[in-house]
């Protein structure tokens, strides 16, 4: 079976193995300490690197006709995924609207590192993808958060108790969110600088990319390992949700991308974006906007269950599914 061999070869990439090492090390209580400032800087590095690369690809290939359908697809996913997540949590999981909305916001938004890992997976398959997919990721960061807050407001108007000034803060923070600005900015710069400009930054932003990702995933493994201790707080329903929801989002997205006729590479990236769950932008926004929601839920689910699931099993599985339908 191709899926199995893909999964196994994915599993034997240094990135995934270092993620697992970090996870195990933390469970064994070994205090490998990657300082937080490094983690944050590497996250910025990745956004610049994929932005530059994406923009440069666009400048070479031009913008094809799929751009518009890609934008529509991004926005569709940004609405459909949080709505489904919200309904499942509220009506099957019997969670209150606030917690349902808080979690839905995370699953509707996206994870940059999952995307980056998927790109690394595609590269190892020599499967191409469109440069503007980085833009699609930037596009998908915020809408689902607003959709989720809107759902909470509809279902739960009087209990929404956050402060007035919050909404303004939140809007500003989401629109000009650090990662949105960095991604779009780097995309534009990558587009503008051409071959010569790219060659000057290649030895820093392109060549060591996978190695840096390895270090970062070691760190992510440790963060996930620490979070897994909160497992009990999450409970069995949310645990399964954190695995099933990505698959649901993936299936919907595979269907949509099939409809739109995107390439295999673009389809996988869309699918991974839909299936991934945010753990940087969404937690910050949700903590401010929905303070009554329990952060132990969404942080643990995103970091310790969905992220590992996606990078280890999800990516090769979605790739297998996409190829199955062709």
């Amino acid at each position: 079976m191709e899926f199995l061999s893909d999964a196994i070869s994915n599993f034997s990439s240094p990135m995934i193995l270092f993620f697992v090492l970090g996870f195990i090390a933390t469970v064994l209580k070994s205090d490998i300490e990657i300082p937080e400032v490094i983690t944050k800087t590497l996250a910025i590095y990745f956004m610049i690197a994929i932005g530059l690369k994406g923009g440069f690809e666009i400048s070479k290939s031009g913008i094809d006709s799929n751009l518009y359908s890609s934008i529509i697809n991004s926005l569709l996913i940004g609405i459909i995924v949080p709505v489904i997540a919200f309904l499942i949590l509220k009506y099957i999981g019997k969670f209150d609207s606030t917690n349902s909305g808080a979690i839905a916001a995370h699953y509707g938004s996206v994870s940059v590192v999952t995307f980056v890992t998927a790109i690394s997976f595609l590269n190892s398959k020599t499967e191409s993808y469109s440069g503007y997919m980085v833009g699609m990721m930037a596009l998908m960061e915020s809408p689902a958060i607003f959709v989720s807050l809107f759902l909470v407001r509809i279902f739960n108007s009087e209990k929404i108790a956050s402060l007035k000034s919050n909404t303004v803060d939140l809007l500003k923070e989401s629109l000009f969110n650090a990662s949105v600005v960095l991604l779009f900015g780097s995309l534009l710069i990558g587009f503008a600088v051409g071959e010569k400009g790219m060659s000057t930054v290649k030895p820093f932003f392109i060549d060591p990319f996978n190695g840096v990702l390895t270090l970062f995933l070691l760190d992510m493994g440790m963060i996930a390992g620490k979070r897994i201790a909160e497992f009990k707080a999450v409970g069995i329903f949310l645990f399964f949700f954190a695995i099933v929801m990505p698959v649901i989002s993936a299936l919907i997205t595979i269907f949509l991308t099939e409809l739109f006729g995107f390439t295999v590479g673009d389809s996988l990236l869309f699918t991974v974006l839909a299936a991934s769950s945010s753990y940087i932008a969404a937690p910050a926004a949700v903590r401010i906007a929905l303070p009554q929601a329990n952060p132990a839920y969404y942080i643990t689910m995103s970091l310790a269950i969905t992220f590992p699931f996606n990078i280890i099993v999800g990516i090769p599985f979605y790739y297998f599914l996409i190829n199955l339908f062709r």
Partner: protein
């Protein structure tokens, strides 16, 4: 003079400072990235967002100003995790 020590989760630090500015305190000192444990469990910097960290803000001012600040801050503490401690202090300089 009174010293008010405010421990507040990082995401709300900016709002707390804004309130202090509005109330018109003479000044304040901020220590960021602190950890701790309270009734809502441990708060230690183990995720990529900043939501599991706190800041410590120290305000020294007249009792009346501090009381005004406390009034305003209580609104924040309704929803967000943290503590406020009050004590006596003498300002030398």
């Amino acid at each position: 003079m009174k010293k008010l020590e405010i421990i507040i989760e990082s995401v709300e630090r900016r709002r707390v400072c804004r309130i202090l500015d509005e109330v018109g305190v003479k000044g304040y000192t901020i220590i960021d990235d602190i950890q701790g444990r309270g009734k809502t469990g441990p708060k230690s910097a183990q995720d990529l967002s900043n939501i599991l960290k706190s800041s410590l803000i120290i305000v020294v001012d007249e009792e009346s100003t501090i009381i005004k600040a406390i009034e305003q801050l209580k609104e924040v503490f309704k929803y967000y995790s943290g503590k406020m401690f009050l004590s006596d202090i003498t300002v030398i300089e």
